[in-house]
């Protein structure tokens, strides 16, 4: 019941948020120097007549307000408009890339969350021990490596030197593979980009989990549980870890947006046709409807992720009500 209320309340709140996002993004790109025709002429050149003709054909001769109105009115019909950069409907272009990004982000988040929290528990088991030091410093080091550099090093080591994994792409080109074989092929292609994207978050979760665990140790209910003679292992996993997991779950929702940003770089390095790279292309091509499409779809993903996180949170911690103060 509470879940349903939370969902409906959330969905209502989403409308003004998306409106701000659309108008903000639209005018940001409008304010930029150069439009879609300039971006197009970069690769072709052309005379003045050509530029004017293209602006007319692409509807860029109309005012910004007229174009925004056009976009919003078509959006009301669940139509994301036309991408001039791809000469295709935006919705097609975006939906084609969405699964790749969801796969990449989902796997990276799941692995980072799983491995990060477990390693965090290990590190917090004996704070200050050699294992803890190694894990803490190691995670910091990984956190401090720029993603694109890590990605290139992974390519050099695993694709070029060891020839264990493909250097990029989402699957083998026109391989004709089907079913499980294809899934395996995609999985092989995902290993390196997931590692490059997820490492940073693994480090983050590890550190949070460790901090949370250490803090929770100090709480009365832990002492009480130990005093009652419960085995240490049981206290660690059932009482402390569950408690320490709460802030991580909150973080999970916040990370969805930041990871989508990080995938811009990782998708470029590993040539993964995903949303992040598409967003970069949309900016470079000054393709406003396409960028709006990517950001809208991204926003929906982020909002859905947060909703899922809130539900998960409510389930993990019965004290939490469905108030608006939970993570956005």
């Amino acid at each position: 019941m509470r879940g349903a209320r939370l969902v409906s309340r959330r969905l209502l709140g989403v409308v003004p948020v998306l409106a701000i996002v659309i108008v903000g993004t639209f005018f940001l790109l409008e304010a930029s120097s150069g439009d879609a025709v300039d971006a197009y002429l970069v690769s072709t050149g052309g005379d003045r007549g050509l530029a004017d003709q293209l602006r007319r054909d692409w509807g860029l001769d109309r005012s910004a307000w007229a174009r925004l109105a056009l976009f919003v009115s078509s959006l009301a019909r669940f139509d994301l408009g036309w991408s001039v950069a791809f000469s295709r409907p935006v919705v097609e272009v975006v939906l084609e890339r969405l699964p790749n990004t969801l796969l990449l982000m989902g796997t990276a988040i799941a692995l980072a969350f799983g491995a990060g929290s477990i390693l965090g528990i290990v590190a917090a088991n004996r704070p200050g021990s050699a294992v803890d030091r190694a894990l803490s410093l190691g995670s910091l080091a990984i956190y401090a490596i720029p993603g694109f550099w890590l990605g290139l090093v992974l390519i050099v080591v695993f694709a070029v030197q060891l020839r264990l994994l493909p250097s990029g792409g989402i699957e083998t080109i026109a391989s004709g593979k089907q079913g499980l074989e294809r899934a395996g092929d995609i999985a092989r292609h995902l290993v390196l980009p997931v590692a490059a994207l997820g490492m940073v978050y693994l480090a983050l979760y590890l550190r949070m989990m460790r901090a949370g665990m250490i803090e929770t140790w100090r709480h009365d209910f832990v002492r009480a549980a130990l005093a009652r003679g419960l085995p240490r292992r049981q206290v660690v996993w059932r009482h402390i870890a569950r408690n320490a997991l709460l802030p991580l779950v909150t973080m999970l929702g916040l990370q969805a947006a930041s990871m989508l940003g990080g995938s811009v770089v990782i998708e470029s390095v590993f040539a993964v046709p995903g949303l992040g790279r598409l967003a970069h292309e949309a900016v470079a091509q000054r393709d406003t409807p396409l960028l709006l499409g990517v950001i809208l779809v991204g926003a929906v993903v982020v909002i859905a992720a947060n909703l899922a996180v809130d539900l998960l949170y409510a389930w993990l911690d019965p004290r939490v009500g469905a108030g608006p103060e939970t993570a956005a």
Partner: protein
């Protein structure tokens, strides 16, 4: 075989490069080209090529640019292609012969018989007429200039096309434009449709050795063999896949991992070439780009009072150490320029030019003379410098130029725009003082370099004179050359044009460069014509 590839395996690239660009090497290649037939080409195999971008419209009849040609030249063919060692530097493709009338009002093309489109329909003169009148003349970025006076195309029979011009048009220009401007597309696919929005622009139908198979945006474009290709026994390859690799550092990795056979257009950074050339199974190829020369130039905004003074512009020309630029920015894979026509173009490059040499003292003296004395900090005045973001080398040269200008007391602030913003800032808004440009030389000054000096162009025409340089004398010279029918006289006018550019310094030519390919050593015939990367690859094959 290896001699054919001109493998650059040492750091001694400068020496190699000069050797390559010399006429001797070009003549020798024709001989070597025949020797290649000694080894029987292997049939079959998939060639995977790295591509750093994916143009939305790959119809070369509409978009004449190398990025489009890279993919589309295998599918759609021009009337003639550039060639090594032939009289006018051309080899027949869809046309077997060509001739212009003495009055410059017509040009006749005899077409190749027994050619069919990929959809099985026959290729005829009607296709040429339709492409010329409806697409090249009306829609194509370059054709709108060259074919602007094309009034009609007569088709007396199925294999003859006669171009009729309303005003005399030099046949020399038409001939030089054949490889890049005359891709022929099927009339039956385009007639009666909105040509710009035709779906065939993304999935072209042509006569070439390969057919368009499929494209997956962001991943690859796949072409397959055309079994009905007009050249018997060709193509050798079964498939060509253009794989999208946006990051150049990653492209080198894909080559080394054996996932990609070829990275053309210098996708592998120059600094990485000595290393990658020594990797077993990979070769660096510098031949095959002679007719795809790019020019590194400094565009100047004459609206700035300082830069309106020819002495200041000359000082800037003297401040640039061209040999250093070639050696450092291009690591030897370029040639220093002395004129707006590249040295490789023996047809038009003027002999005995007196280009401004590297001379900092002279540059300083010129600036003093112009009245721009150094202030207390050593600075004379400040400028905005906009390097084009199109190549690593244009940006790196921008960084060098900033230093070179500092040496003569000009403080330049670099402005790093992305491509669209650069185009707008320089060619529409004129919001620059100096800009580093990279115009492509297309084998004839009329379609490449004169537009950089021509006055009276409206704002918004990209890659043209937007610096506000205006000279009635220069404009008259350009107009006369454009309409001059006699080849010798026309060439002479372009020699004069070059001298005029050196005298007025509307812009500064710094260097000219072709590209490099990194190719799998299994890949054969990777440099068989001067536009190799954008030619049809019918003779390319993969060794076992």
């Amino acid at each position: 075989m290896k001699t054919l590839h001109e493998i650059v395996k040492s750091h001694d690239a400068i020496h190699r490069r000069t050797l390559l660009s010399s006429a001797a090497a070009l003549a020798a290649s024709a001989v070597v080209g025949q020797a290649a037939f000694a080894q029987t080409p292997r049939r079959g195999g998939r060639l995977v090529v790295a591509a750093d971008s994916e143009p939305r419209n790959i119809n070369p009849a509409i978009v004449a640019s190398n990025g489009v040609f890279h993919v589309s030249s295998k599918i759609v063919e021009p009337l003639a292609e550039a060639a090594f060692g032939t009289p006018d530097g051309l080899a027949p493709r869809l046309a077997l012969s060509w001739a212009g009338s003495a009055d410059g009002l017509s040009a006749t093309f005899r077409l190749r018989p027994n050619v069919t489109w990929h959809d099985g329909k026959p290729f005829t003169s009607a296709d040429v007429a339709f492409s010329a009148l409806e697409i090249w003349k009306k829609l194509q970025n370059l054709g709108r200039v060259v074919f602007k006076d094309l009034a009609a195309v007569d088709t007396p029979d199925l294999l003859t096309a006669v171009f009729r011009f309303s005003r005399p048009t030099p046949f020399q220009l038409i001939r030089n434009a054949l490889p890049a401007l005359t891709a022929v597309v099927p009339k039956h696919v385009y007639e009666g449709t909105d040509i710009g929005a035709n779906r065939a622009n993304a999935a072209p139908v042509g006569t070439g050795p390969f057919r368009f198979a499929e494209t997956k945006p962001g991943e690859y474009t796949r072409l397959v063999r055309n079994p009905a290709y007009w050249a018997a026994g060709q193509p050798h390859l079964d498939e060509i896949v253009f794989r999208v690799l946006p990051d150049r550092a990653a492209a080198a990795g894909a080559l080394e991992a054996g996932e990609v056979h070829l990275a053309a257009f210098s996708q592998v950074p120059l600094a990485d070439l000595p290393r990658i050339g020594s990797v077993r199974g990979l070769s660096v190829v510098t031949k095959g780009y002679e007719a795809l020369t790019y020019q590194l130039i400094v565009e100047i905004n004459h609206r700035r009072p300082e830069l309106a003074d020819v002495r200041v512009r000359r000082a800037i020309a003297h401040a640039i150490d061209r040999d250093f630029v070639v050696k450092t920015v291009f690591l030897g894979y370029a040639t220093a320029s002395d004129s707006p026509v590249p040295k490789y173009d023996g047809q038009f490059h003027a002999p005995g030019l007196n280009a401004p040499g590297f001379d900092v003292a002279r540059a300083n003296a010129l600036l003093d003379e112009a009245g721009y004395r150094r202030a207390a900090g050593g600075t004379r005045f400040k400028l905005r410098l906009l390097p084009a973001p199109f190549f690593n080398e244009t940006r790196q040269f921008g960084a060098y130029l900033r230093q070179a200008l500092a040496a003569i007391g000009i403080e330049a602030e670099l402005v790093n725009n992305d491509a669209a913003a650069h185009l707008k800032a320089v060619y529409t808004d004129h919001a620059f003082d100096l800009s580093v440009g990279s115009p492509v030389y297309r084998g004839d000054p009329a379609i490449s370099t004169t537009i950089l000096a021509q006055g009276g162009l409206p704002a918004g025409v990209p890659f043209a004179n937007q610096g506000g340089y205006q000279s009635a004398e220069m404009d008259a010279l350009i107009a006369r050359a454009a309409g001059m029918l006699d080849e010798k006289a026309r060439t002479g006018l372009y020699h004069e044009f070059q001298r005029k550019v050196l005298a007025d310094v509307p812009f500064v030519n710094v260097a000219e460069w072709g590209f490099t390919s990194v190719a799998s050593s299994r890949l054969r015939n990777v440099d068989t014509n001067p536009r190799w990367a954008v030619s049809n690859w019918a003779d390319v094959w993969l060794d076992a």
